[in-house]
């Protein structure tokens, strides 16, 4: 037997060794409720599905805070992972003040809990926290700015910017590794379906369609719409005019997401990361019922796998291309409870439901948003 084959059969580590290696390299990441139910590691792709508003972005921010905080700092336990995170904002509604406030709240809370023995002292500290001159543990500006610097953010106003961001993300990650010396463990996308309508319109415009009779008015309206939606005269300049309609070019939704998935897949191979993407639903709304059935018939022709998933009676209308669907490894549905003041004992608390759809756990979790944006699970007894 050739030596190389023998070596291959022998293997180079025992199961115990491998388990030890994998559990350090691909350790379970600390995530806030409702993502804490299952162990999530780098390489997983999690989709948070829910109507707007259902605390999706808040969950992302809390997950980011868990990552950017150190485990321990100056003798205080913060329980973070001390990693950088990346946030790609497609919704363009992210507020940095929100993250800043929640981070401060977490730091103060951890500082405070260390001192629970001395309640009086804590009260004084809470009082003084604005003045920022606490004798025992001053508001730690250094820790705060260190954490904030680990949060990396980019916003995209259209799908081209999104693709351009992904295409050059590899360089950005490399750069970050050199500067911060900490690798990025979490990539967040808020929200993945943001440009759905704009990009999907391309399949409805009479682009390159043969012999469709259109009135002059219709033609002009379509042309105007096409210009606004960013269709550019591209082929003409490149010398490839095949007809009056061929000029209006835009990649289809399908090919766009094929590229998105391909880019992320390649990235994760080189830089192991957990991906969390939010997805807004709401198309299952009753007022959209007509619309939804029509969309279904359109999707039938577009890709058949979607229909298969629709027959499984999802609680929402699926609209993402199948290439993205099959890329997702975990899916969680979040929903606001009908009325948000069911927990009357505290005023600023809203109650949400969450449910694991992939893998299906078959039960509902409840969680609340407490002061300072902290997510907490509600036990079944309440």
């Amino acid at each position: 037997m050739p030596i190389s084959v023998k070596r291959w059969i022998d293997g180079d580590e025992t199961a115990a060794e491998m388990l030890a290696r994998v559990s350090t390299e691909r350790s379970v990441l600390l995530l806030p409720p409702p993502l804490h139910r299952l162990p999530l590691r780098v390489g997983n792709v999690v989709e948070l599905v829910g109507p707007s508003p259902s605390a999706k972005t808040l969950i992302l921010i809390q997950a980011a805070i868990n990552m950017i905080l150190p485990n321990e700092w100056n003798g205080v336990h913060y329980g973070g992972m001390e990693r950088s995170v990346m946030f790609i904002d497609l919704d363009c509604r992210f507020s940095i003040l929100c993250l800043s406030e929640m981070l401060k709240h977490r730091i103060l809370h951890s500082n405070g809990s260390m001192n629970k023995m001395n309640q009086k002292q804590k009260d004084i500290d809470m009082h003084n926290c604005d003045a920022r001159r606490k004798p025992n543990f001053p508001y730690d500006e250094e820790l705060y700015s260190m954490c904030m610097r680990r949060f990396l953010y980019v916003r995209c106003y259209d799908s081209f910017e999104f693709l351009a961001t992904l295409k050059t993300l590899h360089y950005q990650l490399q750069k970050e590794k050199e500067v911060e010396h900490s690798s990025i463990h979490l990539l967040m996308i808020d929200s993945i379906g943001a440009f759905h309508w704009v990009d999907r319109a391309s399949s409805f415009l009479p682009l390159g369609v043969t012999n469709r009779s259109h009135s002059v008015l219709r033609f002009l309206l379509d042309k105007k719409t096409a210009i606004i939606l960013g269709y550019k005269v591209t082929r003409e300049k490149a010398g490839h005019v095949k007809g009056p309609w061929r000029n209006w070019e835009k990649p289809s939704l399908q090919s766009e997401f094929e590229t998105v998935v391909q880019e992320i897949r390649k990235l994760v191979q080189v830089h192991p990361m957990l991906i969390i993407a939010t997805k807004a639903t709401g198309f299952g709304d009753r007022t959209f019922a007509n619309d939804a059935s029509r969309r279904n018939s359109v999707l039938d022709t577009l890709d058949t796998r979607n229909v298969a998933s629709n027959t499984r009676q999802l609680p929402y209308q699926e609209y993402m291309p199948s290439v993205w669907q099959s890329f997702v490894t975990h899916r969680v549905l979040v929903q606001p409870s009908g009325d948000h003041c069911t927990m009357v004992d505290h005023e600023n608390q809203s109650l949400y439901f969450s449910e694991w759809l992939l893998p299906s756990l078959g039960f509902l979790d409840k969680f609340i948003v407490q002061d300072g944006g902290v997510l907490a699970q509600v036990t079944a007894s309440t």
Binding site: P51, S52, D91, C92, R93, F94, S95, I96, L97, C98, L99, S145, C147, M148, R150, L152, Y153, V154, R155, C156, Y157, F160, E161, F162, A164, T165, K167, T168, Y171, Q172, A194, W197, V198, R200, A201, F204, L205, T225, I228, L229, G230, K232, T234, H240, E249, P251, S255, E256, T259, Q262, K266, A280, G282, D285, T287, F288, H340, C341, Q349, S350
Partner: protein
């Protein structure tokens, strides 16, 4: 986005040879480049005789692509930008200012939702006059239903125009009026024209006085006519309008105030028009309603990016 040919002059490696290499693989524009698999393209390039220059060409196109997205910022940079550039504009209406923690935030879209005659236009006019008077900025007012009233603005400034105004007061009133640019807009295409022109002016810094507030009263009367029917063009235009507004708001530090009407929802309970898709556009949604028979309005938060919904306040609209 640009065809590769147009990059020829600026980038030495994107020469006719490189373009030919790309054209063989169906790549004519930077857009096509975005959709292609760079790894396999590099492998192809390596098989060519002049592989080094081709690979440098690929790197140059990548650097062009790198300039096509917004820059990456870390949390501290973002915070500095927000604190320095994104101010809070008082609306001049105490109830609303209290509710929103000071007023309208620059960089954000605030939407007023309410049935007819619930005071939406009054809030818009008051915010316009207050920003024009007290914040030294100009206001762009897109009026879709001929409801803009200069008299009302004068009234909010506290200087109802009558003959007894003295010289100084007349000057103030003139300044306020000069700061409010009102445009009548009756369809969404005109709105895109106006907004694109505004963006062009802001980018080339042609605007004399800094625009700080953009009001569209009402956005729903522009969007509703294009929704429905077959095809998703209406939705596409609606989402594009939303993104254009967000871009204007964030990149040029403008507070955007929109109004939206209500329609009958489930069980006859009124709900905001424009449906689920529009829900993801504004940062803040406020519901307005007015008591019958008097001028007291109540306002409550339906959605806020950093505040719990459900908070409410009341305020009075003073008569003419």
């Amino acid at each position: 986005m640009a065809p590769l040919k147009s990059l020829e002059q600026e980038y030495s490696f994107i020469d006719s040879n490189f373009q030919k290499f790309c054209a063989c693989r169906g790549i004519f524009t930077v857009e096509d480049f975005l959709l292609c698999d760079l790894h396999s393209l590099t492998v192809f390039a390596e098989q060519e005789p002049n592989s080094e220059t081709l690979k440098q060409g690929i790197t140059q196109v990548l650097s062009v692509i790198d300039g096509q997205h917004q820059p990456w910022l870390n949390g501290m940079d973002l915070l500095a930008d927000t604190i320095q550039n994104k101010h809070i504009l008082s609306t001049g209406c105490e109830g609303i200012d209290m509710l929103l923690g000071g007023g309208l935030h620059e960089g954000q879209l605030t939407e007023l939702v309410g049935p007819s005659s619930s005071g939406k236009t009054q809030v818009c006019l008051q915010a316009a006059s207050n920003v024009a008077k007290n914040h030294m900025g100009s206001v762009m007012y897109l009026d879709t239903c001929n409801s803009f009233s200069a008299q009302r603005v004068a009234c909010f400034v506290g200087l109802a125009s009558n003959l007894t105004l003295d010289q100084a007061k007349h000057k103030i009133l003139q300044n306020v009026m000069n700061n409010i640019l009102c445009r009548s807009v009756f369809d969404i295409f005109t709105m895109f024209d106006v907004l694109n022109q505004l963006e062009f002016n802001l980018r080339s810094q042609k605007v004399g006085n800094h625009v700080r507030l953009l009001i569209i009263d009402s956005i729903s009367s522009l969007i509703t006519p294009i929704l429905g029917g077959n095809g998703s063009q209406g939705h596409a235009l609606m989402v594009s309008a939303g993104y254009l507004l967000k871009k204007l708001a964030h990149e040029y530090n403008i507070a955007v105030l929109l109004t939206n009407h209500t329609v009958g929802g489930e069980g006859g309970i009124p709900k905001p028009a424009l449906g689920e898709t529009w829900k993801t556009i504004p940062h803040v949604r406020l519901l307005l309603s007015r008591d019958r028979g008097n001028n007291i309005c109540s306002i409550s938060i339906i959605k806020h990016s950093s505040m719990a919904s459900g908070k409410a306040a009341r305020f009075t609209i003073y008569g003419l």
